[in-house]
Point group: D2
Amino acid sequence: MQELIQDGSFVYIFLDGKRNWIRRVKEGEQFHSNKGIIAFDDIIGRPFGLRVQSHSGTVFQIHKPSQNDIQISLGRNTQIVYPKDAATIVNQAGICAGSRVVESGTGSGSLTWIFSRAVGSSGHVYTYEVREDMYLGAKKNLERYADMDRITMHHQDILDGIKEENVDAVVLDLATPWLLVDEVHRVLKPSHFIASYSPTIEQVMKTCKAMGESGNWGMIKTLEVLQREIMVRDNKTRPTTWMVGHTGYMTFARTFSVE
Amino acid sequence: MQELIQDGSFVYIFLDGKRNWIRRVKEGEQFHSNKGIIAFDDIIGRPFGLRVQSHSGTVFQIHKPSQNDIQISLGRNTQIVYPKDAATIVNQAGICAGSRVVESGTGSGSLTWIFSRAVGSSGHVYTYEVREDMYLGAKKNLERYADMDRITMHHQDILDGIKEENVDAVVLDLATPWLLVDEVHRVLKPSHFIASYSPTIEQVMKTCKAMGESGNWGMIKTLEVLQREIMVRDNKTRPTTWMVGHTGYMTFARTFSVE
Amino acid sequence: MQELIQDGSFVYIFLDGKRNWIRRVKEGEQFHSNKGIIAFDDIIGRPFGLRVQSHSGTVFQIHKPSQNDIQISLGRNTQIVYPKDAATIVNQAGICAGSRVVESGTGSGSLTWIFSRAVGSSGHVYTYEVREDMYLGAKKNLERYADMDRITMHHQDILDGIKEENVDAVVLDLATPWLLVDEVHRVLKPSHFIASYSPTIEQVMKTCKAMGESGNWGMIKTLEVLQREIMVRDNKTRPTTWMVGHTGYMTFARTFSVE
Amino acid sequence: MQELIQDGSFVYIFLDGKRNWIRRVKEGEQFHSNKGIIAFDDIIGRPFGLRVQSHSGTVFQIHKPSQNDIQISLGRNTQIVYPKDAATIVNQAGICAGSRVVESGTGSGSLTWIFSRAVGSSGHVYTYEVREDMYLGAKKNLERYADMDRITMHHQDILDGIKEENVDAVVLDLATPWLLVDEVHRVLKPSHFIASYSPTIEQVMKTCKAMGESGNWGMIKTLEVLQREIMVRDNKTRPTTWMVGHTGYMTFARTFSVE
């Protein structure tokens, strides 16, 4: 009843927090690292959750890629919204099975991926990206891992307008979110949430000010989330020495209705 | 196209972070607070996302209850897993539309509620509670808000065994999680996640030790999450003076397969 | 060789983090609390560091007031700079035995007290306060506990000018610190530190901008300090549930010389 | 009246947070870095707080070394107690001008240096180090910067006993602080503070347990301090991406007297 690794499966090859890879298994091929080689033929037909020894003696874990393994992989070499923040956005904006979500910019597609998993086949993610290189990169990324039936990609500047209406949530990761608060209010169901992610406090100030002045937004709040890892070792338990001290602020607000 | 408040609707009545209520609207009845009275007849037939003035002049916001409004409401008077931690568990354990999740203890049902929203109609939550008063209270809570087709409630000590098999995630909020690591391994799909939530570091140490000794768990890690609110006010922007400094530690690990 | 409690001694009476008092011992008098009465005659002639039982059975600790006991006591009913921040200012501004320090505003005198202890009899603290009620209150506070030979109190708006020159450090806890950066530069020794404490980020922005535009300041940096208490209890070790999430930002910079 | 850089002066040469050096100025010699050369003859006779351009065009700041510049410099290549923690220890243990302080281990001497500055010429620091290489290294370090009249260095294991009595504070940075709590109680004035610094929570647990069982310690508390830097830049203000997430826990307690 265990799921078996097959020719064509994606695998997550894990050594430690810094050395881990997602690879597509192919018959007759090998995974190469400076800690040794793993022949894919040695793992095909065996269940996920393996420990295998490379030819040079290092033990790797072979897992089925998790949602976050893929998210982090999508964002390699670009700036992604960290899992801690993606989790907060999904939670605070009430994104769940069945939600229809608008997002911009698509970026690497890593947040699109998380949302597409959260909304399921009964929901949908509409994502906007103005830069062609980003749009094409995200498209390739998402086609590799995601169920594209749940995702609509717009190669368009969201500042030119949102095509969808009556959506359950809008998530912005933009340089100038304050320019969009009226347009977002227009397309969002009453009492539903906007989530705006910004690295700097000036962006947050301008966005909150625009929301306040419009009079259309209630329960405006801004959060930041710090995540700390505890190294639990026999007689040596302690938090890790370094941690991420800042990624971005997240501003949430709820639409007032217009009667 | 806006959703209208009806006789029987749940509403979230918001004044500020400490003064807010979920109520069921009934024709001819009123909401009473020390900031004045709102007649439900005055809001029936109008869209969610309202601002209404009580007879004594205070403005209340009337929203459709969000996922987190309900979660927090369910946990009133008991100890709940905070949204920041619930969000981290859903995210790190990869719980999404379609997941089959085992949880214990049910407690107030607040985490069951969050999971039931995340898994959607194609997933399922199996929840265990040994204490009869908690079981009955959670049942009443969940029947009020949740889609019970997605939830199976066991009035049983999970230490006596898990009835389900081949599940996508197991979430423990128990006094002695270390006693369950073998049983959880038995019922969890390979490469899938256990999440264990514990307030004290001694619980975490024992759980990590039990996992390590079993040899069945990979990528064991323990996180804590701090959430900080920023008060964004014109020329007076600053984090809130008080914050929650600790709720619990969350330990995640991934099952190795048995060949 | 132990120091004994005498008629006229100050004592710190401690029950827990919230219930503690500094009192002056007087023959024939008593300390009253809702946890019972302690007769001062019962503790006179005994060493500090006592545990005594009130007539109603509660055990109080009787300590010699520490530097921080007194600092916190001075600030009761007003807004004080917390010990965590006072410590950071002393440390980062290099305030030590022998330093000559200018400070404004005096407020309750609680920071003046800390500085007067740090600089010792070979140093000096010059403190400015514009409000008469604050000036008089601080004077009374400081005369009660501090060595006034080390302290000069100015009942004056520091914006009208600093009387001292060639000082080792200047510490500002003011609404508009940016108005003072040139004046502070004038009186501070080259390569020495200004420390500016502000609750809001807008104050910090304006102060850093004024420093940058003047061209007179090097190594400008802004810190915030979070302090967390860990409750170490047998099998129940965990951080406290609530913590102070924000008090103020501290900006430090170092004077460039003028040739 | 400005202090001038002289032949033999120590200077702190600052480029940024990672590239900075303390050097002794010598006539006819030069400072070399990969950002260019500075001839000491070009700065001798000029005041501290200079900006000078290297031959290759980079601007360096030349400051008089501050207390923390020297502390950090002393600890290069070893594990030091960070300024944030040193500040907390000085503050919470009430170390000030005139204090007599016992410390162990000496390590690099960086904490000894901080204490020697805090206690001034009317106080004294007694420091114990069992390892000869550390003892000799710290001796060399301290003779370079500190006033040795205020410092007594013992090349001795503090577990063999403390030579001083009736001291104002004892600061431990040891692998096994719990073995010393009775000996420290013996030499500390009543109502005065022990401060114990430990990286792991198990060390803290054992130390608090030993204190509790001895019955000799009051007001036992354990703190950790997080320091965050805010980058204040025009329209780009935000905390730094990375921060130190853990250094050590600090346990403080106060001696009960023995009658």
